[in-house]
Point group: D3
Chain length 140, copies 6
């Protein structure tokens, strides 16, 4: 069993807020992250899959395949977009790093499908000072 | 003469567009950077000043002073904000990295005022793949 | 269960030595790390906590809370200090990266107290070429 | 139990190909990584060992010892070399990041021998966008 | 006048040697960089152009244009290639970082042609410990 | 004319203070940087030299030569040392980044001597948030 990780990036806007709350309540709970006119980040996404090495190729998975799946189902939907407004799999959800990481994991799990590798981890870096890691429902 | 640089950061939303243009024209010229619902970045700002070393302190300038000026006049206005909508010195201007760097330089020049150091350069990093440098009207 | 990590930094002096040993013995065991007049590092501290996402906020923990605890109990005591001489929770202990990481973990565990998250890991980076990770007494 | 990691680097050439395949078949499976005249990377190698802290030294292991073993048995053989042609422990093997990480792990396990620490993980970074992690035959 | 920089990357093999010299002479002058079976690097290329801001777009140059030129004429020819053997503009030249930076500058100058911006600098990073900068025949 | 830069590092302790001042006065002027028991940094030193390319080797200067000079005269004296107490060329001087950069430049200029390259710049990085650049008495 070996683990391989692919990094992708996306630049997106978001805010943290609940529509049913006043601006004051949102500011109290979410601070500057609730700025009504949005703010944004250069997100870094690290996707880790695990599997056995194919003796013919030396690969666990062709990284080009993994890259194409990440781009098609995740980063093409997020890059130069608004996480709250533009992203199908985030509709009606809080646009926190935690929730975004979970939803990315679930999307990837679906779209990886039956395959020679298993999705192991999604790591989502929001700034150089904070990141989130999610291993699916049964944490490692 | 010696050069000292302070790094600060801000996370902001923006888009590239001209109001008088259609969405199609904006998309044609600015591509995905014109996404109507905004996108965003973790910007890194490097401010370089130059001067002589004060023999008593070994400093060109107390970096705390420089940091306070940058935060008060620049990054507190930009961090967790929308560059197009929320920032007084960007009102009515294109929110490109180039224009933002020039305006930051001009704001800093004003607020540094008469002092032991001269503003030398503003470097503004938008993503790991592109950045802008501005030295004022008489380039170095 | 999801994992969230906050990075903080501190710049500190230290040395590796045992008072009851001669300078020669200290040099033999600890090499240049035992320089009698100290040396120092820009330490990077990564604190990882784990918990469930609060559906109302999308947070595992408000990162501002986590940051405040780390700064108050850990990095404010270490930043611009001497690890061997100035830090209450390091008194009488070896100032190695390993011991410092364990003591930081134990301090954080105490000061996080009963809370919605559990302390998962402390990662302490001493230089770009070495770092230590500690998961508490029952390693993960 | 505490984990300590040492980073080393090496600059090497390699290609992905199977001699018994035609250039076309190799290009089809391995893409540009099969360029007949080789290509290369600045590899980063992170070696993690685990053990108990020695109360006399505060060390899990003297990092100088770990560094010397990594250099002698691994990076001195790989640095400024061709992974496919010049490296004894890679002879007859696919020069993929996955296989290289496994072989480095196995070499290190042998040469660390009976010692106060156990080899925990080898992480091998090929580019800023991909890396491999291997924990030995019983993954963590 | 403002300066904008685009980063691109390429992974390539090379060696430093003179065919008319013996292996011993090459080893004496170039050390391990002359390994007959090649070695390689993850090169980072920073291309800086300068010009005036277009008031309509806020751009000095559309970075997509700059990226396309760099990729078409430079990095597509270098990425996953052998600098000594595979690259038309390096034929018959020493594959040192210095010479490669100069040749990249000259190629870019030709292919940028008459345009709203001027090529200012090529910075070529070979490893985290060394890089070369070239400003054309009249250095800045 | 081409510019080549070598990076070296050193981990050192220092403090900012004037012996003839009280602790209170030192604290007032230098803040936490005057901690009596020292603090420290992982310094990064970038040394840039300029010259013509030697057509036989493709080198401006053999980087091994440059590295050996930097290590012998600069970083071996600073690494795992106290800048205020242990470094011959800093005796009696303020241990600020500015002064240290100037003194390193002057030492290197002396020890490079008459040679095929000229010392162009010393860049000294104290933390990820500040660095100093010095070009000698006639700034570039």
């Amino acid at each position: 069993m070996i683990y391989i990780t692919r990094r992708e990036q996306f630049n997106a806007a978001h805010k943290l807020f609940r529509e049913e709350w006043s601006d004051e309540k949102n500011m109290e709970v979410f601070g500057k992250c609730s700025n009504p006119n949005w703010h944004g980040h250069n997100y870094e996404l690290f996707v880790t899959v695990k599997g056995e090495i194919n003796p013919e190729t030396g690969f666990v998975i062709d990284l080009k395949t993994l890259k194409d799946i990440i781009r098609r189902y995740i980063t093409d939907k997020l890059d130069h977009k608004n996480v709250n407004l533009d992203v199908d799999f985030m509709k009606g959800k809080m646009a926190s790093t935690e929730v975004l990481a979970v939803e990315i994991f679930n999307e990837l799990k679906t779209h990886l499908g039956e395959r020679e590798v298993t999705l192991h981890k999604v790591k989502l870096v929001e700034t150089e000072n904070n990141f989130v890691e999610y291993y699916g429902e049964q944490p490692d």
